[in-house]
């Protein structure tokens, strides 16, 4: 498959490497034309405010929205989860998201960097090392949304149809379980 990773800011290189390690072709996406011919899209970790602003400036919001609504499989980690959420708590004024995922996300919900942590968690029947960095959590989910992982009863991984989002960063761990789940169970 050909995987596009939104490369405006953040840890897009790690997502490209993880996708390649799963045996796929992965390319950095900075422009609208680069969205064509993708089998899936990944929105990386980073600063959601910065990514949203750059996406607005470079006219990527609507094209990505239309790709998501037309069913292109998409996975977002951390900032990527925020960018996929239909509703946002704790964002900056007028912070835009691509949306598509019927959830309310709370930004920086686990706290500041001194509260960032790693912990083994269950993700869709797999044991993974969850790395949470100034991480959001999901406050509320719509009826179509399946919760795949929780920490202290807060949802930290969710799926709705072809959209996957995690508030942690599997791309930083070298463990390909979450990427494999996305490619094998959502993208096929």
């Amino acid at each position: 498959m050909k995987i596009g990773v939104l490369a405006l800011q953040g840890d897009f290189r790690e997502h490209i490497e993880a996708s390649q390690a799963c045996g796929h072709k992965a390319v950095a996406i900075r422009r609208e034309v680069e969205l064509n011919d993708l089998d899936a899209l990944i929105l990386p970790g980073g600063e959601s405010t910065t990514i949203a602003l750059l996406a607005r400036n470079y006219n990527l919001i609507e094209p990505i929205r239309s790709k998501i609504s037309s069913g292109l499989p998409v996975y977002g980690s951390c900032a990527g989860m925020i960018l996929l959420a239909d509703r946002l708590v704790g964002g900056v004024e007028k912070q835009e998201t691509f949306g598509g995922l019927d959830i309310t996300v709370k930004r920086n919900a686990f706290g500041r960097q001194v509260d960032s942590f790693e912990e083994e968690i269950d993700f869709a029947g797999r044991r993974v090392n969850g790395v949470f960095i100034r991480a959001p959590w999901v406050e509320q989910v719509g009826s179509e949304v399946e919760i795949l992982a929780t920490v202290n009863s807060h949802a930290v991984a969710v799926r709705q149809g072809s959209i996957l989002a995690t508030s942690f960063h599997p791309e930083l761990t070298g463990d390909l379980s979450v990427h494999t789940y996305f490619f094998d169970e959502i993208c096929r």
């Binding site: 897009f12 980073g46 600063e47 405010t49 900056v92 960097q113 790693e118 083994e120 100034r134």
Partner: protein, 295 residues
């Protein structure tokens, strides 16, 4: 298994999230908002930007906690703050404020002319400056989770940043080309721990994120540093000492993302007004150069 905070992975991972972004020096909440609205991925809260520290002289110390907290309240992006080299109590204080990253910085007046802060003792991650690979690896050995090349802060002259990026990159490439049995002497010569030298030789990169800093004043400067292999850019005096900070800040953010696209760089370089006036590094007497602080 229970939660583990302050691990090397979450400290270094925090820096990974800043990659491809611009971290801007701000001295008050209004500037912090301008930086956030322009797309900064983090702000550095300090009382005086390096250009003013240089102009006004005197001992430069950590900022007033009140001022840092006002900036934390004003923005949702990460907030960093500086402590003097070796001043571990300033670091304890800054950590207690819940700051997201500490910069143990040569821009402030050093406290200890032999030792840096033992950064492993802290939950909050540290970024430190380096002019060469040996210095970078000594800082990583002390627990730094992010490195920035130093440049010469407060000048608007990007030449030293260029020198340091070339130096660090060149030394990494040199290690990668060496035989395994030559790395012991390489470690001795660059005064760096052997294990880290070996790791760099094997991976061909630093084990932490490498940003660049010091003298970056224009979108072209930012893009130059990205093309030189920086993971991201610190801009100190360059934004708020210029004619139109909001526009210049946004332009530098775009230039950092589209660093390899001259058309975008031309577009964002138009009509920015006056850049900071600046000082040529060669006009600063060597004892007053900040980059030479750090051991």
């Amino acid at each position: 298994m229970s939660e583990a905070t302050g691990t090397a992975r979450v400290k270094r991972g925090m820096a990974e999230m800043l990659k491809g972004g611009v971290i801007m020096d701000v001295v008050n909440a209004d500037q912090a908002k301008i930086a956030e609205d322009a797309g900064a991925c983090a702000v550095m809260a300090l009382e005086r930007v390096p250009a003013d520290i240089r102009a006004q002289g005197g001992v430069a110390r950590m900022s007033d906690p009140d001022m840092i907290e006002k900036i934390q309240a004003a923005v949702s992006i990460p907030v960093m703050a500086k402590v003097r080299i070796g001043h571990f109590v300033e670091a304890q204080i800054i950590q207690s404020l819940g700051v997201d990253y500490i910069d143990e910085s040569e821009v402030l007046t050093p406290t200890d002319y032999e030792n840096h802060v033992d950064k492993w003792k802290f939950t909050v991650p540290f970024v430190c400056g380096a002019t060469n690979l040996g210095e970078a690896l000594r800082r990583i050995n002390e627990g730094a989770a992010m490195i920035r090349s130093k440049g010469e802060a407060g000048t608007g002259d990007v030449s030293n940043a260029m020198t340091h990026m070339r130096k660090i990159g060149g030394e990494i490439r040199r290690l990668s080309s060496m035989r395994e049995d030559e790395l012991y002497v390489a470690a001795k010569e660059m005064q760096a721990p052997f294990a880290l030298v070996q790791e760099v030789a094997q991976t061909g990169k630093l084990p932490v994120v490498l940003f660049t800093a010091g003298g970056i004043a224009t979108p072209a400067d930012a893009a130059l540093m990205m093309q030189m292999g920086a993971d991201g850019v610190f801009i100190g005096s360059g934004i708020f000492k210029s004619g139109n900070p909001a526009q210049r800040a946004a332009a530098c953010v775009k230039a950092t993302t589209f660093f390899d696209d001259p058309k975008v760089l031309a577009e964002v370089s138009r009509g920015l007004g006056d850049a900071m006036v600046g000082i040529n590094v060669s006009d600063i007497p060597a004892p007053h150069r900040l980059a030479e602080r750090g051991w």
